[in-house]
């Protein structure tokens, strides 16, 4: 079998690729070969040497994820006083991770029933899809009653966003997505990998540490008709700043006028105010106007199911026929990505949301979690106000909502938080209040004041 064409690999010597790794890359192959071909004769010696070099030699070390990398760095820190305010995962007052009681109950029920582990359909667990859409839109919503929502179980918020992004790329190839400035860091990565062009709309106003509403409307207005507008349903990540109901109404007006398509990211339903219905009001307002829209849902935070990867992409269409067609095409995207979604988290959600007793228990646990965060906000505000001799107005901490607070600290100041105070947070100045205890508020206040005034 080892014919001469194969071993006289002078022309296709691996050396041609290994000699200059920097030229490598998907587009460099042919150029790389030609570069080395110029009439030279490569002997077996070259090939022997080349064989020891990896074909992935040119792969560079990627930087750590800006959000998830924070936890990695935190784990490596040996200081006693270290505090992890990086990733948005809820912690108890004792700073321990929390598995909800209703989740434990549901898992035990599932064990008792001894359910099988067969493949779910591509679109996921039917019982889950039903309850998740009802939870989001309200069971009595016309979009539900009329069967106009295409719901596909997906891998938490990220997976839902990615399915939608791939769908947009395929069926709306001329469209752009508008993302708030700032937004969750992974949003841009998702649309980049899905090859959907994006632009930003103004959102955060550093001068007021509030919403730049005029800027937001201007930028949404300026976008070409039929753009997708990525909106955070509640508890904006990273700022914690949400539009008021009046502002939401104006945003909806403008979106309708421009034939834009609203695309909600709902990762904190129930977690923001403590009320599932109140936190869904922005989505429901838009839906009640008869608009077609996308909603990505996640149960990572509100049911504490982070690692189970459970969420859904919902597409509200103007007819049940359109919803069926859209759903069928979402399935076509999911199948070559992961075939069908994981069953465990879906069953937990279906059990909790579908059972009136468990559902009520869940609402109570959610109020406790949201309540703890509100208490922590109050304590931090009090501590900051006490310790700050310059009487800066820290009340934005009380106005912001949800798991995160945008402190207004810049990168250098955030670095100081970590390097000097062992407080781990993302470099955009975002802290996760879910990772803060009442006991640590004073320490954190000191760190913030030090960083804000002493570092620029």
């Amino acid at each position: 079998m080892a014919s001469s064409t194969m071993l006289s690999t002078g022309r296709y010597s691996p050396a041609a690729f290994m000699g200059n790794p920097k030229k490598l890359g998907p587009s460099a192959g042919r150029r790389g070969r030609d570069f080395f071909l110029k009439g030279k004769n490569f002997g077996r010696v070259r090939m022997t040497v080349a064989v020891n070099v990896s074909r992935f030699e040119g792969v560079s070390m990627a930087p750590p994820d800006p959000i998830l990398g924070v936890s990695e760095a935190f784990r490596a820190d040996t200081s006693d006083v270290k505090l992890n305010l990086g990733v948005g995962a809820y912690r108890t007052e004792e700073l321990q991770p929390y598995v909800l009681n209703v989740v434990k109950k549901a898992e035990n029920l599932m064990l008792e029933r001894g359910e099988n582990k067969e493949y779910l359909p591509i679109e996921g667990l039917a019982a889950f899809n039903k309850v998740t859409a009802e939870l989001l839109f309200g069971a009595d919503s016309p979009v539900i009653q009329q069967g106009r929502v295409a719901t596909v179980q997906s891998l938490s918020g990220t997976g839902s966003l990615r399915l939608a992004a791939a769908f947009i790329q395929r069926y709306f190839p001329d469209a752009k997505v508008l993302i708030s400035s700032p937004s969750w860091g992974n949003h841009k990565n998702i649309f980049n990998d899905a090859r959907v062009p994006w632009a930003e709309y103004r959102y955060y106003d550093p001068r007021t540490v509030g919403l730049d509403f005029e800027g937001m409307l201007e930028d949404i207005e300026a976008a070409q008709d039929g753009s997708f507008i990525l909106l955070h349903g509640c508890a904006h990540n990273p700022t914690g700043i949400d539009p008021t109901p009046e502002q939401w109404a104006k945003i909806a007006d403008l979106i309708e006028e421009k034939n834009h398509i609203p695309f909600f990211d709902v990762a904190y339903q129930g977690f923001a105010s403590g009320s599932l219905d109140a936190d869904a009001s922005s989505v429901r307002t838009f839906a009640s106007r008869g608009l077609e829209l996308f909603v990505a849902q996640s149960y990572s935070k509100n049911l504490g199911l982070y690692s189970e990867r459970i969420g859904a992409i919902n597409v509200v269409c103007s007819s049940p026929d359109a919803a069926a067609r859209v759903k069928s095409q979402l399935k076509r995207i999911a199948r070559p990505m992961y075939s069908n979604p994981p069953v465990h988290g879906a069953r937990i959600v279906a059990n909790v949301v579908g059972d009136p007793n468990l559902f009520n228990e869940w609402k109570q646990e959610m109020e406790l979690m949201a309540g703890r965060i509100k208490n922590v906000r109050k304590r931090l505000f009090d501590n900051l106000s006490e310790k700050d001799n310059n009487e800066k107005d820290w009340s934005f901490i009380l106005r912001q909502i949800g798991m995160f607070s945008y402190t207004g600290l810049n990168k250098a100041q955030s670095d100081n938080m970590t390097d000097k105070w062992h407080v781990y947070m993302t470099k955009d100045g975002r802290i996760s209040l879910a990772g803060l205890s009442l006991a640590k508020c004073e320490y954190l206040a000191q760190a913030i004041i030090d960083s804000f005034y002493k570092v620029s």
């Binding site: 079998m1 064409t5 194969m6 691996p14 690729f17 998907p26 990896s54 074909r55 040119g58 560079s60 990627a62 994820d65 998830l68 990733v87 995962a89 991770p97 598995v99 989740v103 898992e107 099988n116 582990k117 067969e118 359909p121 016309p142 891998l155 990220t158 997976g159 990615r162 069926y171 709306f172 992974n186 990565n189 990998d193 070409q224 008709d225 007006d253 309708e256 006028e257 398509i261 106007r289 008869g290 199911l305 690692s307 189970e308 990867r309 103007s318 007819s319 049940p320 359109a322 067609r325 095409q329 070559p336 990505m337 992961y338 075939s339 069908n340 979604p341 994981p342 069953v343 465990h344």
Partner: protein, 456 residues
């Protein structure tokens, strides 16, 4: 890409539709932009066939997935004698799905463990699971593992592992063509195309012998460009059940190494094919033993019956540990914008079983029992056809390996069997032996006999 299902509604189409709507409601476009645009939206109580244009108007209904669609059709059939030989999910002799005893045990331990939490896994997944998976496929004594040259990431079963591997290669490898066997699992070409690779085929199945077209395989791989990626089914080729012998694997290895072809193994049936985990990994191990690089996608869907939990792993064996570390960092950049991090439940079950020697032994015994039952079904079916004097050589039924048999029946014959005998299988003639039982073998052999004698 199946462009038949893709329709691109251009923004101009939306404008035309919206102008039409304006006509119907008696507003001019100019007026409409000033007036409250809710005049054009259907009222909440209007039927879903209101005048509003849908942005999804041009989206077509996608056909059902050919493999998973078989089960959909089966479920709709009311016949009491129907048999589902479509998707490759193991069934007991009673025709029921099976959850392994050892899996139930592991789940009990996990759910009842008070210290267990549901925090996000790292992007690369559960560390224990990754190490144990690499050991399982490469062998605990593998030099590649000892030398830390393997980058392993937890992914969503086989599909997810193949997709992540494909995306990585499309971004970082200089050859962006993957050669896949003819035929192969229906989802392979779609996975790799969407990952960004060009798909080509190499000859594999010989319909004349119902065996391996070895010369065709060697010829096609010989004429592949140097460095091209080659997809190899590690064992129990899907859909044909035809595997190379060890001697043939060795020849394939020599050829591939001489042309620097990059092996990408799909290992979905380790332990399921012969009943021995080590025997079923031989193909992969001879490649790793020569010190060269390769990729391996593993799935625990079948061999641990964890179908719906979506558990798998992608391993990339590199020349050096330094390269492996950099490769791993880049795999994270593929995963984070796709689904952030993988689901924990299935991976913890696998890790629990693999790291406990008693449970591991229980597993191998249950695995052997499943593999043995399938081998027994092969013998029974072969015997039944022989008994009926069904024309043709049916010895391939006992020669082929793994869950599937490529019967050699054509589309018309398959359609006939579905219509007249309620046998559900894929139109390429593939049957899942795992879906057969002693009770249903006679019915299936009647169906095959009828199809072969009545339809040519």
């Amino acid at each position: 890409m199946e462009d038949a299902n893709v329709s691109h509604p251009l923004p101009s189409a939306n404008r035309r539709l919206s102008n039409l709507a304006h006509h119907l409601t008696g507003h001019s476009p100019a007026m409409a932009s000033e007036s409250h645009s809710s005049a054009l939206s259907p009222s909440p109580t209007a039927g879903s066939y209101g005048a509003a244009a849908s942005v999804f108007a041009g989206i077509l209904q996608a056909p059902e997935d050919p493999i998973l669609g078989v089960t959909v059709a089966y479920n709709k059939d009311p016949s009491p004698v129907k048999v589902n030989l479509g998707v490759g999910a193991y069934r007991t002799e009673e025709g029921k799905p099976l959850v392994l005893n050892v899996v139930r045990k592991a789940e009990q331990l996990l759910v009842n463990d008070p210290v267990r939490v549901k925090e996000y896994l790292p992007i690369t997944g559960l560390a224990d699971f990754n190490k144990l998976s690499a050991k399982l496929i490469f062998g605990a004594d593998s030099p590649a593992i000892r030398e830390n040259r393997v980058a392993t990431v937890q992914c969503l079963s086989g599909t997810g592992s193949l997709r992540v591997g494909g995306e990585f290669l499309a971004r970082h490898y200089h050859e962006r063509t993957i050669y896949i066997p003819q035929p192969t699992w229906g989802n392979h070409p779609k996975i790799f195309t969407l990952a960004g690779l060009a798909v080509k085929y190499y000859r594999y199945y010989d319909p004349a012998t119902r065996g391996l077209n070895f010369n065709g395989l060697l010829e096609d791989l010989s004429s592949a460009p140097t460095g091209a990626i080659v997809l190899l089914h590690a064992c129990a080729h899907n859909p044909t059940g035809v595997d190379p012998t060890l001697e043939q694997w060795e020849q394939i290895r020599l050829l591939m190494r001489s042309k620097e072809l990059l092996p990408f193994f799909d290992s979905a049936y380790q332990g399921f094919a012969s009943g021995s985990l080590d025997a079923d990994a031989q193909s992969v191990r001879i490649f790793v033993a020569d010190g060269g690089e390769c990729l391996a996608a593993q799935s625990y869907a079948k061999n641990m019956g964890l179908y719906g939990e979506r558990v798998g792993a992608l391993s990339i064996v590199c020349k050096s540990s330094d390269v492996a570390a950099r490769v791993e960092s880049q795999l994270k950049l593929v995963i984070r914008p796709m689904y952030s991090n993988p689901p924990i439940h299935g991976a913890s079950i696998v890790a629990t079983i693999l790291k406990n020697s008693e449970m591991y032994n229980e597993w191998t015994a249950e695995l052997k029992m499943m593999a043995d039952r399938i081998i027994s079904m092969r013998k029974q079916l072969f015997g039944a056809l022989h008994e009926r004097g069904t024309p043709g050589d049916w010895s391939h039924i006992i020669k082929q390996i793994g869950m599937f048999t490529f019967t050699g029946l054509n589309r018309e014959q398959v359609a006939f069997m579905t219509k007249e005998f309620h046998i559900y299988m894929t139109s390429d003639g593939r049957i899942s032996m795992a879906g057969l039982s002693s009770k249903t073998v006679p019915h299936l052999s009647d169906a095959i006999h009828a199809a072969v004698t009545r339809i040519n």
